[in-house]
C-alpha cells in the first residue's frame, strides 16, 4: 500500500501497535512493519513528528527509558488514546464494510434464478 494511502491511517496504526504496552520510536516502526508483513509503505521519518503530535493532543504520553546503551523516549497509550483507538477501529470497520459491499456485492436471493 502506497505511503500516501497509509498517511491518513497513521494515527490508528501507531495507537494500535502501542496497545500491548510502551515502545520507543524505532520499535514502533518495526512493529508496524512486522504486523503488516512489510505491505505498508511508510515514510518512517514521519512517524516521529506524528508521535509528538499524538502526545501533544493527549493520546500518548512519553518518558525517558535509560535501560540499554542509550536513553530513549518511550511512548505509551493514555486512557484517551485507548478510547481514540476504539473509535478508529469502529470507523475503519464501518468504512471497509461499506466499500466491501460495493466492490464485492453478495448475491441477492431474489435475483438468484
Amino acid at each position: 500500500m502506497k505511503a500516501d494511502a497509509v498517511r491518513g491511517h497513521l494515527d490508528g496504526l501507531l495507537l494500535a501497535v502501542l496497545e500491548p504496552g510502551p515502545l520507543h520510536g524505532y520499535a514502533i516502526i518495526t512493529a508496524v512493519q512486522r504486523r503488516s508483513a512489510g505491505a505498508l509503505e511508510l515514510r518512517t521519518g514521519t512517524v516521529y513528528p506524528a508521535l509528538n503530535r499524538l502526545e501533544r493532543i493527549g493520546l500518548l504520553r512519553s518518558s525517558w527509558d535509560s535501560t540499554g546503551e542509550r536513553k530513549r523516549r518511550r511512548y505509551e497509550l493514555t486512557d484517551a488514546g485507548r478510547r481514540a483507538l476504539a473509535d478508529e477501529r469502529t470507523a475503519w470497520q464501518a468504512f471497509t464494510a461499506a466499500i466491501g459491499s460495493v466492490l464485492d456485492p453478495a448475491p441477492h436471493p431474489g435475483h438468484a434464478g
Binding site: 524505532y26 516502526i29 511508510l42 521519518g45 514521519t46 513528528p49 503530535r53 501533544r56 542509550r70 484517551a80
Partner: protein
C-alpha cells in the same frame, strides 16, 4: 544522503549528518527541535544498524535506510508542521501569562490609585493598552486550547500560527509602550517605586513576548 547529496559514512556519522541537515532547516522552539531531531537521528542510526546486521554492506544499508526513512526534504514538512505548532503554543503561553499581568498592573494603578495620581496622558493611554493586551491573552488562550486536547476533534486552523504571531506582536507592543509610559510617568506619580517596578516588569515581559512572537512569525513563514 540523498536529501543533501552528501556521501554516506558509517551509520552514526551518517545519522549525525542527516540530523544536522534537518536541524538547520527546521524552525521552532530549541528544546522541541532538539528532542525531535535526536529521536530521528537515533531512529535512522538504528535502521542503518539493523540493515548492516542483516549483512548488507554499509553503503547499501544507509541507502536502504534513507529510502525507507525519507530524505531530509521528505521528512522536513511534517517535522516543521509539528514544530510550528510547538512554537504557537510557546508564544501563546508567553502571551497568556504576560498580558494579564499588564492588565492587572494598569488596573491597580488606575482603579485603586496604588501608584498615586498618574498623569492624564498615561491614564488615557492605559485603557487601550490594557484592552489590547487582554484581547491578545484571550486569543492566545484559544490557540492553546485549539492545539491541545481540542485538536482531537477539531482540525487546527491553517492560519493559527499567523494569528498567534500577531497576537504576540500586539501584546509585545502593548508591553513595550507600557514599559516606556510607566518609566516616564514614575517620577511624576505620587508613589514612584511601584510604578517604576511595573515599568521594569513590563520591559522584561516585552523582551520575552516580542522574541517569541518573532519566532512564531518565522515558523508561520517556514
Amino acid at each position: 544522503m540523498s536529501g543533501t547529496g552528501r556521501r554516506p559514512g558509517p551509520a552514526g556519522t551518517y545519522a549525525d549528518e542527516y540530523a544536522e541537515a534537518l536541524a538547520s532547516a527546521l524552525r521552532g522552539p530549541a528544546r522541541s527541535r532538539a528532542r525531535l531531531v535526536a529521536e530521528i537521528r537515533d531512529g535512522l542510526a538504528e535502521t542503518v544498524a539493523a540493515y548492516a546486521a542483516e549483512g548488507l554492506p554499509r553503503e547499501l544499508a544507509v541507502r536502504r535506510a534513507v529510502r525507507e526513512f525519507g530524505t531530509v526534504a521528505e521528512v522536513l514538512p511534517s517535522c516543521q508542521r509539528e514544530l510550528t505548532v510547538a512554537q504557537v503554543r510557546h508564544t501563546a503561553r508567553a502571551v497568556a501569562l504576560a498580558a494579564p499581568l499588564l492588565t492587572v498592573c494598569w488596573y491597580l494603578f488606575l482603579a485603586t490609585g496604588y501608584g498615586g495620581q498618574l498623569p492624564l496622558a498615561t491614564r488615557l493611554l492605559a485603557f487601550p493598552l490594557a484592552g489590547f493586551a487582554a484581547v491578545a491573552a484571550l486569543l492566545s488562550a484559544a490557540a492553546l486550547a485549539a492545539t491541545g486536547p481540542l485538536a482531537r476533534r477539531l482540525p487546527t486552523p491553517h492560519r493559527l500560527p499567523r494569528a498567534t504571531a500577531w497576537a504576540g506582536t500586539t501584546a509585545g507592543v502593548c508591553l513595550g509602550v507600557s514599559a516606556l509610559t510607566l518609566a516616564a510617568s514614575s517620577p511624576l506619580s505620587g508613589n514612584w517605586p511601584p510604578v517604576a517596578l511595573a515599568g521594569a516588569l513590563a520591559a522584561v515581559l516585552h523582551t520575552v513576548v516580542a522574541s517569541s512572537a518573532r519566532a512564531c512569525r518565522d515558523c508561520a513563514r517556514a
